[in-house]
């Protein structure tokens, strides 16, 4: 007589230490093997797009901060790029340089949280503390620039809210000098740790074709071995002036496109960000950072789509203007929102414990998924 079996449904979240926020996953299990994952999102839906329709253009900047709250500078940057494209503003060179420096510092701090929490998810708690030490140093740099630790409202349409602090350049150089050995330490502690590799290599393999079809972007796409970076392939601002590489997953410990590859691409990207920052600091021109800020933002009727490379991937802003001082419609293409859809493909056939590994490796931020 055959044993009667039935599928088990397991709820993970919205309160769960490894879902990186308020995400609910409905896991369908056959024993310990996952057959289906249904993500339920919207627990942090803060009506960003409705707010945009009620605010004036400059007022929207602080709201963009609160979408991907691990990379507010990147969000502001994307919004400023889109608005400047619509208004036809050319910003001073110094503004471009400072924006790039800030965006890359933000990439470092965001990836540090990603690595730290990923380690903590898998059971390595110490790297989390190590990563947060360096992250605090980046936050201090932001703090002397604009006064805020987490949400900056720094990059405005056509300029910046403040010029750099006189000490900023020196302190940033010091930070990079200290950070490089620390990065090696994190590598020794976590990246090449046997237990960590056993947990992450060959888990959650994402082939390139699937990744592109699902719209996966950023480090997750590059982890699959596809060299695609908006900074190089659809350059914006002044990224074409800098010399940097695009790290891709190589399958060092397992298959190309596994969780370890996605993780390691982030480690390598931090090194590339350091290179960009160093070059930008060397070339940093003088000038007035507020000269191009428009007194009244009132674009012509029309629409614009602009995208930038955020730490989590391809962040796009679609703005429709009806000729008034506030937008008719703003839609944000949030990288995590799009990437989240691929979770089901990644998790099928793995164990329950691997869901945490896979979810951590795609590095989501719920603020941006739900907006």
């Amino acid at each position: 007589m055959a044993i009667k079996t039935e599928e088990m449904v397991l709820n993970m979240g919205p309160q769960h230490p490894s879902t990186h926020g308020v995400l609910r996953l409905e896991l369908a299990l056959e024993g310990e093997i996952i057959t289906n994952v249904i993500p339920h999102i919207g627990y942090l839906h803060r009506c960003f797009e409705k707010h945009c329709e009620a605010m004036t253009y400059p007022q929207i900047v602080p709201y963009t901060d609160r979408m991907d709250y691990l990379a507010p500078m990147g969000n502001e940057f994307g919004y400023a790029i889109a608005m400047e494209k619509l208004l036809g503003i050319q910003v001073p060179e110094r503004v471009d340089y400072i924006r790039v420096i800030m965006a890359e510092l933000q990439r470092i701090s965001s990836h540090l949280v990603a690595l730290g929490t990923y380690g903590a998810d898998i059971g390595a708690f110490t790297p989390f503390l190590y990563c947060f030490i360096d992250r605090e140093k980046v936050l201090n740099l932001f703090e002397i620039t604009c006064g805020a630790r987490l949400l900056y409202n720094y990059i405005w349409i056509g300029g910046l809210s403040h010029d750099l602090h006189p000490d900023f350049v020196r302190k940033t150089r010091e930070f990079i000098k200290e950070f490089r050995p620390n990065l090696k330490e994190i590598n020794d502690l976590l990246s090449h740790n046997r237990i960590f590799i056993d947990r992450t290599a060959n888990v959650g393999i994402l082939p390139i074709d699937t990744a592109i079809n699902y719209g996966v972007s950023g480090p997750n796409l590059r982890g699959s071995g596809f060299k695609w970076d908006i900074r190089k392939d659809d350059p914006y601002s002044i990224y074409n002036k800098f010399d940097f590489d695009i790290p891709v997953g190589e399958g060092k410990y397992g298959t190309v496109g596994d969780s370890w590859d996605r993780y390691y691409v982030r480690v390598l990207e931090m090194e590339e960000s350091c290179r960009i920052i160093e070059q930008a600091l060397d070339q940093l021109p003088e000038g007035d950072v507020q000269s191009a800020i428009p007194k009244r933002v009132k674009p012509v009727v029309g629409n614009v789509y602009a995208r930038v490379e955020n730490p989590r991937g391809d962040l796009g802003y679609f703005i429709i203007s009806d000729g008034s001082t506030s937008p008719y419609r703003v839609k944000v293409r949030a990288p995590s929102f799009v990437t989240m859809q691929v979770l089901n493909e990644l998790c099928k056939g793995y164990m329950v414990a691997d869901v945490v590994t896979i979810l951590g490796s795609i590095d989501i931020v719920l603020g941006e998924i739900d907006r």
Partner: protein, 163 residues
């Protein structure tokens, strides 16, 4: 400051009220539900991490609400999430405390006017002990909020309810 906070050099007898003993024990080992909502959760994480070190106040994050003494509502509470938070709160054993962290949890924050899906203040669903203002509050502000909560617990009475 009760007797129990003083240091003794040699063996002795301490006479204290049961109330003081309980309060002292409670406030020195507050276990927190490890639960983050939005941007403030990142500052809460920063507070528990190396630089600010929440641990020195006896705060240890527990993944299950059934082990916890207090919960920090760290971020925007949406209507969809509010019912879940209420359930989390109901699962916590008494005595239980709530710190509302950041403007969003206090009153809706920047989303108060047009946020069709945002709950304008967590106190519409569950009672709050300490409000920490800021968007987001700095880790120092959260620490201050915790000290305020400890102060509140220190003066609690087993018979008479304090406000």
């Amino acid at each position: 400051m009760g007797f129990l906070d003083k240091e003794f050099t040699d063996g002795n007898i301490v006479i204290a009220k049961v109330e003081d003993l309980f309060n002292w024990a409670r406030l020195s080992s507050l276990w927190q539900v490890s639960f983050g909502l939005a941007c403030c959760a990142i500052e809460m994480m920063a507070t528990s991490a190396s630089h600010y070190d929440f641990d020195r106040f006896g705060v240890i994050p527990r993944p299950s609400p059934r082990h916890a003494d207090f919960i920090i509502i760290s971020g925007t509470v949406t209507l969809k999430m509010a019912t879940r938070i209420k359930r989390l709160y109901e699962q916590m054993p008494d005595p239980k405390y709530i710190i509302s962290m950041g403007s969003c949890a206090n009153c809706g924050g920047p989303y108060w006017e047009h946020g069709y899906h945002v709950l304008k203040g967590i106190d519409r669903v569950i009672p709050v002990d300490v409000y920490v203002p800021g968007c987001p509050p700095r880790p120092e502000a959260l620490l201050e909020g915790l000290l305020k909560l400890q102060e509140k617990i220190r003066h609690e009475s087993m018979i008479k309810k304090t406000a």
